[in-house]
């Protein structure tokens, strides 16, 4: 990796961090244009693959930038250590600018603890958030439930999660086992 790539990684991901209003997924098209089209860090196919991997891996899916930074770092040199450096830089650049903004907002929020505005937002946003969560469940379901087996599994798991106090981790692990056995 040369200094130019390093600066490119920092500039790209820190600007995407500030632009990602509504969540990391909103800047994926822009990320694709820059990383694949402008910088040629990855191919189209590789971008699609690292997207799928980062969605499925545990943790925030924004860690797609870790994989892109890794590939950018390896880039011309072929040295994996530079890949790791690129991964670290991309990840930090993607989190710090937005994180600072959240910090400022949450300070204001704490100060407004007893204000009517905060009470109104907390009360009013609750039903909106539940609607947004249902919307993301709906969108996730379209990607995850390919056939009636998977729909059935989702339905049964929803009933278990909603009606019992069993640790969800056991259910997710059992569902993973069912998938591993090839039943969904």
């Amino acid at each position: 990796m040369n200094a130019k790539t390093l600066v490119q990684i920092l500039l790209l991901f820190s600007s995407l961090s500030i632009l990602s209003i509504g969540g990391g997924n909103t800047v994926l098209p822009e990320m694709h244009i820059k990383a694949v089209g402008d910088h040629h860090w990855l191919t189209d196919k590789q971008f699609a693959d690292v997207f799928a991997i980062s969605q499925a891996a545990p943790g925030p899916s924004i860690l797609i930038v870790t994989m892109i930074g890794y590939k950018a770092g390896i880039g011309a040199t072929g040295n994996e250590l530079f890949g790791v450096l690129g991964a670290i830089l991309a990840t930090i650049a993607m989190m710090v600018p937005a994180g600072l903004l959240v910090y400022l907002v949450s300070r204001v929020w704490e100060h407004a603890k007893n204000s009517p505005a905060r009470k109104a937002i907390e009360k009013g946003f609750a039903p909106l958030t539940v609607g947004l969560i249902l919307a993301s469940g709906w969108v996730m379901s379209k990607a995850a439930d390919h056939d009636w087996h998977a729909f059935l599994l989702t339905g049964v798991c929803t009933a278990i999660f909603s009606a019992t106090k069993i640790n969800p981790l056991f259910i997710v692990a059992a569902a993973g086992l069912i998938g591993w056995l090839g039943w969904v």
């Binding site: 943790g59 109104a120 009360k123 995850a144 259910i171 998938g179």
Partner: protein, 181 residues
């Protein structure tokens, strides 16, 4: 609310949330741990924080970690929560990146992921059931809930468009009136 969490509590808790979310469903896992298991926040405060973290730029879950961390321990708390959330997943993703670019495929976990993803959807839906039971009481909250689901989930309007229409109505409805309780 229980005692104020230490920096280590914050890091370990967010690490637990991140690792549990194998296959997706990070928001639902956050609620499961922060509200149900740890009792660090009440549902109303948690839900409004989730939506604020969505409006602000940045990955929603990273933002939520910053928010919860700052609430309890200021900047060190935010750092601890974000490190907890991302450090182990970062290492996992880095290892996956190595495998992927070296061998052009990832170790065979596809079947497991399919099953886990179906359960992650279920966890997300059950969060709707559990939180909905508490806050979807009355005509107006149900209408707000349905409207934003139709706009954002079915019609796929951008989040900001949906909120600029509905948030003012929601806040007007939620504005405290009359005597304080």
């Amino acid at each position: 609310m229980s005692e104020k969490p230490t920096l280590l509590d914050l890091a370990l808790t967010f690490n637990h949330i991140a690792l549990a979310s194998f296959g997706g469903g990070l928001s639902a896992w956050s609620r499961e741990v922060i509200v149900v298991e740890k009792n660090w926040m009440q549902d109303e405060e948690f839900l409004s924080a989730v939506t604020m973290c969505r409006i602000l730029p940045g990955a929603n879950q990273v933002n939520l970690a910053v928010f919860v961390g700052v609430k309890f321990r200021g900047i060190p708390g935010a750092l601890a929560a974000v490190f907890g959330l991302t450090l182990v997943p970062f290492l996992i993703v880095l290892a996956l990146a190595y495998f992927y670019f070296q061998f052009h495929e990832v170790p065979a976990v596809k079947g497991i992921l399919k099953g886990a993803a179906a359960a992650a959807v279920a966890l997300t839906l059950s969060m709707v059931v559990k939180t909905g039971r508490k806050c979807l009481v009355g005509l107006i909250p149900v209408l707000l809930f349905l409207a934003i689901f139709l706009m954002n989930g079915i019609a796929r309007w951008p989040l900001l468009a949906c909120l600029s229409l509905l948030a003012p109505l929601a806040v007007a409805w939620g504005w405290p009136r009359g005597k304080k309780p």
